[in-house]
């Protein structure tokens, strides 16, 4: 456990241990509702948020002569992501464009603007860290913000888990049961935004959505039911991100990519375990094959 003697590594590990499980858990909702690309788009819009944080830091230092307290720029980043998510969700509902169109112009616009600001600030080198993450990026202030966001996400999800899961199953049934579907959908979008913002520094804008999507995808392969799907996704998120940080330290690899590849390794392990759990699937009836193919444009394994 000699790696714990390094302060930067303790910070990175705390960030990974906090963000990993929550991201994995949220990913279950994201993947089941076809929102995987949304988290990716959101992460890209965060580049502007990062640039604005730097701008604010520089401006305050220049005009007022003191440094912003640590953690404040990541607070700004969270606010930016929440705003961007809210804007995109509103545009989805206005139904003027299809959701993927909205995401495409929002995120390209934000990337363009963010890069412009970084360039003007002379902090172009910061881009690499923003895109791919940095083990050293999180200060203890950032970790504190991260902890606060994680706690509130856990509280919100925990209190309304039944409602969120019912919406996951069928929005109409949830509405008929009197569940405020629109409001909870917005809350989910905002939670994703906040979590993307806090995990950004470790993984980078290009890679952060993997932390949401991959553990849930892996858990799906091995979980026999919905309860264990949620648990496995959380555990997978934890193992992948903490393991990735440790590996990147020992192997001297960039942190974000190492975490993502660790997650993918877990996915492959789950894929390998799947045949061993095959007895669970043998009871599948004809109905399932027809139901699966109707969901997907690809032929399912049963029909091949």
């Amino acid at each position: 456990m000699d790696f714990l003697s390094y302060d930067f590594l303790r910070r990175a590990l705390s960030a990974a241990a906090l963000a990993g499980p929550v991201c994995g858990f949220l990913g279950v909702f994201l993947t089941a509702r076809g929102m995987a690309f949304f988290s990716d788009a959101l992460a890209h819009t965060a580049i502007t948020g990062v640039a604005l944080g730097l701008l604010a830091e520089g401006a305050v230092e220049f005009w007022f002569g003191f440094a912003l307290p640590p953690g404040l720029p990541s607070g700004l980043l969270i606010l930016w992501c929440l705003g961007a998510a809210w804007l995109m969700a509103s545009l989805f509902e206005s139904a003027r464009w299809r959701p993927d169109t909205v995401m495409a112009f929002c995120f390209t616009g934000s990337v363009a603007f963010g890069v412009l600001v970084l360039g003007k600030l002379g902090r172009y080198g910061f881009l690499e860290e923003t895109l791919f993450g940095d083990i050293n990026a999180n200060s203890w202030g950032d970790v504190a913000v991260l902890g606060a966001v994680t706690m509130s996400a856990v509280i919100v999800l925990g209190r309304r888990l039944r409602e969120f899961l019912l919406i996951l199953l069928d929005e109409d049934l949830a509405l008929a049961d009197g569940i405020p579907v629109r409001r909870l959908n917005r809350i989910l979008v905002l939670l994703v935004a906040a979590v993307v913002a806090i995990a950004l520094k470790l993984l980078g804008a290009l890679l952060v959505s993997a932390l949401l999507v991959v553990p849930a995808a892996a858990a799906r392969l091995v979980a026999p039911n919905l309860r264990l799907l949620l648990v496995f996704a959380g555990i997978g998120g934890f193992l992948g991100s903490v393991g990735g940080v440790i590996l990147s330290f020992y192997l001297d690899l960039p942190t974000g990519p190492t975490i993502v590849l660790t997650q993918l390794a877990l996915l492959l392990i789950a894929l390998g375990l799947q045949p061993l759990l095959g007895h669970r699937r043998r009871s599948q009836s004809r109905g399932s094959a027809e139901a699966t193919t109707s969901q997907s444009i690809w032929p399912s394994s049963e029909s091949r």
Partner: protein, 256 residues
């Protein structure tokens, strides 16, 4: 527009009598007055006034695109009204069974978990469904499916699970959307018997949307013929005369 108002002129007084007898001496469960709703700019239906009482099976028939499913979604509180109002009996418990659920078939959710969520029982301890003897689950043969996944059930099994969940909430009014479309629900005869048992034993009001005119004809106590508006209403043997249906479908050919 009252029930029976578009009957042929010679049948009018008869139809009015029947309608009065239907409503006599009992309060309605649900009543709408001139409601309209739709998606986007287009109204799916308008000026719909109907009533559902307890202890009766009411069917909603009409061609494709007539607004039947939209009307049911509206009554279930899924879609907002554009016009008119819906009156419900005080404290009415209502259950809605959609045509199909839009859920992700690959999501590993078990029947017991689904029931826990629907019925507000502890999600992380779905053992209750086996220990307690829930009447609707036994009646519909769902107890043997509890550990199966929703996604791997056959269409008929899944429909049975949904219906059992809807009934386990002990509703007074049941809204059913195409409950028997091409599925081996229970076998048609058993399905008829179930609906009549729910009506007679439990006093349920049932509002049913169906394409299956044969089913509707011998199952219903009252029929509304809808094609964007209510075109006819009454007991099935009056509304569902062949000449009348033919005339109605011809006058309002379904759009598209």
């Amino acid at each position: 527009m009252g029930p029976g108002s578009e009957q042929g002129s010679e049948g009018r007084s008869d139809a009015a009598d029947v309608a009065i007898r239907r409503a006599a001496s009992r309060p309605f469960l649900l009543r709408t007055e001139g409601i309209a709703a739709g998606y986007g700019d287009e109204a799916a239906f308008e000026e719909v006034s109907l009533e559902v009482f307890g202890r009766e099976v009411v069917s909603l028939i009409g061609p494709n695109g007539a607004g039947k499913t939209t009307l049911l979604r509206c009554l279930a509180g899924i879609l907002p009204l554009r016009q008119g109002r819906v009156e419900k009996a005080f404290g009415l418990r209502m259950s809605y069974l959609p045509q199909r659920l839009s859920f992700d078939r690959l999501l590993p959710v078990t029947v017991a978990e689904f029931l826990s969520l629907r019925l507000g029982r502890p999600f992380f301890r779905p053992g209750w469904a086996k220990q307690e003897r829930v009447e609707s689950l036994e009646e519909l043969g769902v107890t043997s499916l509890l550990d199966r996944r929703l996604g791997e059930l056959s269409g008929g099994e899944r429909q049975r699970v949904f219906l059992a969940a809807a009934l386990a909430k002990r509703p007074q009014l049941l809204l059913l959307d195409e409950p028997a479309t091409g599925v081996d629900l229970l076998g048609a005869a058993a399905f008829d018997a179930l609906l009549h048992r729910l009506r007679d034993r439990d006093g349920l009001g049932i509002l049913l949307v169906s394409h299956d005119l044969h089913l509707v004809h011998h199952i219903s106590d009252w029929v509304y013929f809808l094609n964007r508006r209510i075109l006819a209403s009454g007991p099935p043997k009056e509304v569902m005369r062949e000449d009348q249906l033919a005339a109605a479908y011809q006058r309002f050919p379904h759009p598209g």
